[in-house]
């Protein structure tokens, strides 16, 4: 596979064809914030915090670095007033779900995001999909999935699968950027609803 030369934040970088801008930047020691990205998983492009500016073919576009493939001679900027503004709003929107999340608090500090800009949401889940994708791609179990769409979208453990697979696994818990307890809670809720016919008390 051939090498591609590009520029990131003024630094000349080479990367193998097919790599993403995010990977190329990380390889060159340049950090780009991410929430939904995980090295073991297929790039998802969901949280969009990795949005960067790319000059390509005479045009400047805003793209998600985690899914955008490197191209010869493109110029990438990972910080600008516009990018910081976008990351600020995106962080604030996610903070409405999980104001105490460490990952989000770090982002908030970097981009001057306010915790209470938007009304507090009932759920902790920011729908990054790490648990869903890890379960599908790495564990190949599909015990947890997305349901519904738009503002009603949520994650849900599939009771029939979760009841069999989840007790001894729980590998998704530490992946959750907002709260492992949240994952446990949702899991529990699914399991208790399945087990309720036995009327046994389930302890968390």
């Amino acid at each position: 596979m051939s090498e591609v030369s590009l520029q990131i934040d003024g630094k000349a970088v080479t990367a193998a064809e097919g790599t993403t801008v995010l990977a190329a930047a990380q390889g060159a020691g340049i950090s780009i914030p991410t929430v939904c990205h995980h090295e073991k998983l297929e790039p998802f492009g969901g949280c969009r915090l990795c949005t960067v500016e790319v000059d390509a073919g005479g045009r400047t576009n805003l793209v998600a670095a985690c899914v955008y493939p490197v191209q010869q001679d493109i110029v990438v900027r990972t910080r600008s007033k516009q990018i910081d503004g976008i990351r600020k709003v995106l962080t604030e929107q996610l903070l409405a779900y999980a104001p105490e999340s460490e990952v989000l608090q770090k982002l908030a500090q970097e981009y001057q995001a306010k915790k209470d800009r938007f009304a507090r949401e009932a759920s902790f889940c920011i729908l990054c999909g790490l648990c869903v994708r890890y379960c599908a791609e790495v564990k190949k179990k599909d015990a947890v999935g997305f349901i519904d769409r738009g503002p009603s979208r949520e994650i849900s453990f599939i009771p029939e699968i979760a009841a069999k697979e989840c007790w001894d696994c729980k590998e998704c818990f530490p992946l959750c950027p907002t709260s492992a307890l949240q994952a446990a809670f949702v899991l529990m809720r699914s399991l208790t609803s399945l087990a309720s016919s036995n009327s046994e008390e389930v302890r968390i």
């Binding site: 492009g45 976008i86 996610l94 920011i126 738009g150």
Partner: protein, 650 residues
């Protein structure tokens, strides 16, 4: 029906069909599109069949249900040939008269003709009606001539001759070149050059490639694609087969939304007929080219109109957009090179191949060629489908074709491009309608929705309405779209319900920027348009809502009150009787009073109060005067005296 195995056989069949059709034969064409069917076209067709038989004309007259000619406002539309007399709003009751007078006596039934409201002249033919006269109907013009369930009608008009020309007279590269030369741009919204897209799919190596018709038309109030799917499905299929040949695809899909049952029926039937005739299947027309098509029903998600989401949906996965690149031309359906075009784009292809790219570029502006179909709806006299060359002004569409705003109201804005389009105010009505000009004023071409709004429309409420739609239809995968639209919708709801705060406009703009810049697909990228365009042109309306808690259009219920002026009230009981929430107290000779707590602000009292009293007053942004004490409510009815005092009070 035996298969057709060569262009010569196709031509022979066409001649045979034409030879059986006497151009002077009497015929009745009734629009059987979804719009006219809803207003009773089916009963009209049945009435014609019965009446024609009753009057013993069965052998001399042909009756058929056809595709939609576009004048939905005045449906059911009936065209009587060979004179092509156009009757509007025909009911089964009118049928005996039409049969007796027009079919038998060759006279015109004057009362069913279109009357030009300006000149008071009656229009006998379609072409005399201003609604049609100012259009250029390359694509939907044939609809009224075609029974979409009858392939012979399409063949009679030269159908599938473009396919024969492409297969036998042109190399695939030549077909691509011709489409490139025509500068046709995608009609689904993106406006990407079709020929360039085809070339990309063609040049990607691979044995298996796919072509797809995107018929997942989901914009509220838009029905351009439905009219073509229902009315002339073969024109889409012919375009698709030509495209497949050009790209090197042997399999195709028509992705039709489930909510279009008639379109599904007609497209499926058209595919069957095309297969039986040898336009689909193996060795098409004896050319050696193989191609098959399947219909896929969409399950109702708006976002599946986005090409990557559509592909996933076709694969049986949740319809969520994927990042591009890779584009479908490189990696599409089942990972193979795939070309997706919108219904209207495909329907343009046979015309370009038959008449040439030079003919096509004769219509339109420098960068937007050809015609475009718009569905003209909202506060407009002539609701319907209009096809115009790119470059006509919005003003011409609204006033010349649409005949302006009903009820003597004032024009406020026209929203183009579907739910994620922008609202264009009066000051920009003279822009030429094409892809680039609409973008410049903060709107988009989209797939061709055009919603006209009058002075009673509140622009903040409009933005709220569209953002609600988009929030529900966002797939929820990426956070700028899912969260951004939700937050913008919340703020807009607050503003329209009287909870707007200082800084809300700036916050809306900030969220809009992040949603527009960072969203994964076109839905999120365009979703802020209704917000940004209404802030740009109607900022004063936002400010009135936020600062004065006033809705200038009296549309936001929470900000409007209805009050009866005791001096003007004629105690006529009308508003009391019609009140939908039993909120008006009063009686004979008793001044009526609105109970502000019970009132649901439907506005019925305002609408029904006789003009001679004009007693019901709409208030917004100001306190409602206290109710008149009960002891003073008795009307001393001395007519003349009363009128005097009412006059003074005003």
């Amino acid at each position: 029906m035996p298969r057709i195995n060569s262009p010569a056989e196709l031509e022979r069949l066409r001649q045979e069909i034409l030879s059986k059709r006497d151009p002077d034969r009497a015929r009745v064409a009734v629009c059987a599109g979804a719009g006219c069917l809803a207003t009773g076209a089916e009963k009209v067709i049945a009435a014609f069949n019965a009446e024609i038989e009753k009057q013993g004309l069965s052998a001399e007259v042909t009756t058929k249900g056809t595709g939609c000619p576009g004048f939905c406002e005045r449906g059911p539309v009936v065209v009587v040939g060979p004179e092509e007399i156009c009757y509007l709003q025909v009911t089964p009751k009118d049928v005996p008269e039409i049969v007796t007078k027009t079919l038998k006596e060759k006279k015109v039934v004057e009362r069913l003709l279109y009357v030009d409201p300006a000149k008071k002249e009656k229009a006998v033919h379609e072409s005399d009606i201003p609604f049609y006269r100012n259009q250029e109907r390359n694509i939907i013009g044939n609809n009224i001539k075609i029974d979409p369930k009858c392939i012979d009608d399409y063949l009679a008009l030269g159908g599938y001759s473009a396919l024969a020309k492409a297969l036998f007279g042109m190399a695939p590269e030549q077909v691509v070149d011709e489409v490139k030369k025509s500068k046709l741009r995608g009609r689904g919204g993106g406006g990407f050059p079709t020929g360039v897209k085809w070339e990309a799919a063609r040049s990607t190596p691979g044995e298996t490639k796919y072509v797809i018709v995107n018929a997942d038309e989901g914009d509220p109030g838009a029905f351009m694609d439905r009219a073509v799917l229902e009315g002339n499905p073969h024109s889409i299929l012919e375009g698709l087969i030509i495209g497949a040949y050009a790209i090197g695809a042997h399999e195709g899909y028509v992705y039709v939304r489930q909510e279009y049952p008639l379109a599904l029926e007609n497209v499926s039937l058209a595919i069957r007929h095309a297969r039986e005739h040898g336009f689909l299947g193996k060795n098409i027309l004896g050319s050696g080219f193989d191609f098959t098509v399947k219909v896929h029903r969409g399950a109702g998600a708006f976002v599946c109109g986005e090409e990557t989401a559509l592909i996933l949906s076709l694969e049986g996965k949740p319809g969520e957009p994927k990042p591009r690149p890779p584009y479908p031309a490189a990696k599409g359906l089942w990972g193979r090179p795939t070309n997706i075009n919108n219904v209207e784009t495909w329907a343009n292809v046979p015309l370009i191949i038959n008449k040439g790219a030079d003919w096509f570029t004769g219509f339109g502006t420098e960068k937007s060629k050809g015609t475009k179909i718009f569905s003209l709806v909202g506060k407009i006299k002539n609701t319907g489908l209009v096809e115009v060359p790119m470059g006509v002004t919005l003003r011409d569409i609204v006033y010349k074709i649409g005949d302006g705003i009903p009820g003597g109201k004032k024009f406020k804005a026209v929203q183009t491009g579907g739910p994620a389009g922008g609202c264009i105010p009066e000051e920009h009505l003279d822009i030429a309608v094409d892809f680039d000009e609409l973008t410049k004023v903060g709107a988009i071409m989209g797939s061709g929705g055009m919603i006209v709004m009058d002075e009673d429309t509140c622009m903040v409420d409009v933005a709220r309405y569209f953002l609600n739609f988009l929030a529900q239809e966002s797939c929820g995968k990426c956070s700028p779209c899912r969260e951004g639209i939700k937050q913008m919708h919340r703020i807009l709801t607050d503003i329209t319900e009287g909870r707007g705060k200082e800084g809300d406009i700036e916050l809306l703009e900030e969220i809009a920027l992040s949603t527009r810049s960072a969203s994964l697909c076109g839905l999120g990228k365009s979703a802020p348009n209704p917000v940004l365009s209404t802030i740009r042109y109607f900022r004063h309306e936002y400010e009135a809502h936020i600062n004065e808690k006033r809705c200038p259009s009296y549309a936001c219920k929470e900000l409007v009150s209805y009050y009866i002026d005791p001096e003007a009230c004629g105690a006529c009981l009308l508003c009391m009787k019609r009140c939908t929430s039993d909120a008006i107290a009063g009686g004979r000779n008793l001044i009526h009073v609105v109970d502000q707590v019970k009132c649901n602000r439907c506005g019925t009292c305002f609408d029904v109060c006789p003009a001679k009293f004009g007693a019901v007053i709409r208030l917004s942004g100001e306190p409602v005067p206290g109710a008149i004490p009960e002891e003073l409510r008795v009307v001393v009815r001395k007519k003349a005296a009363k009128q005097e005092t009412a006059k003074e009070a005003r």
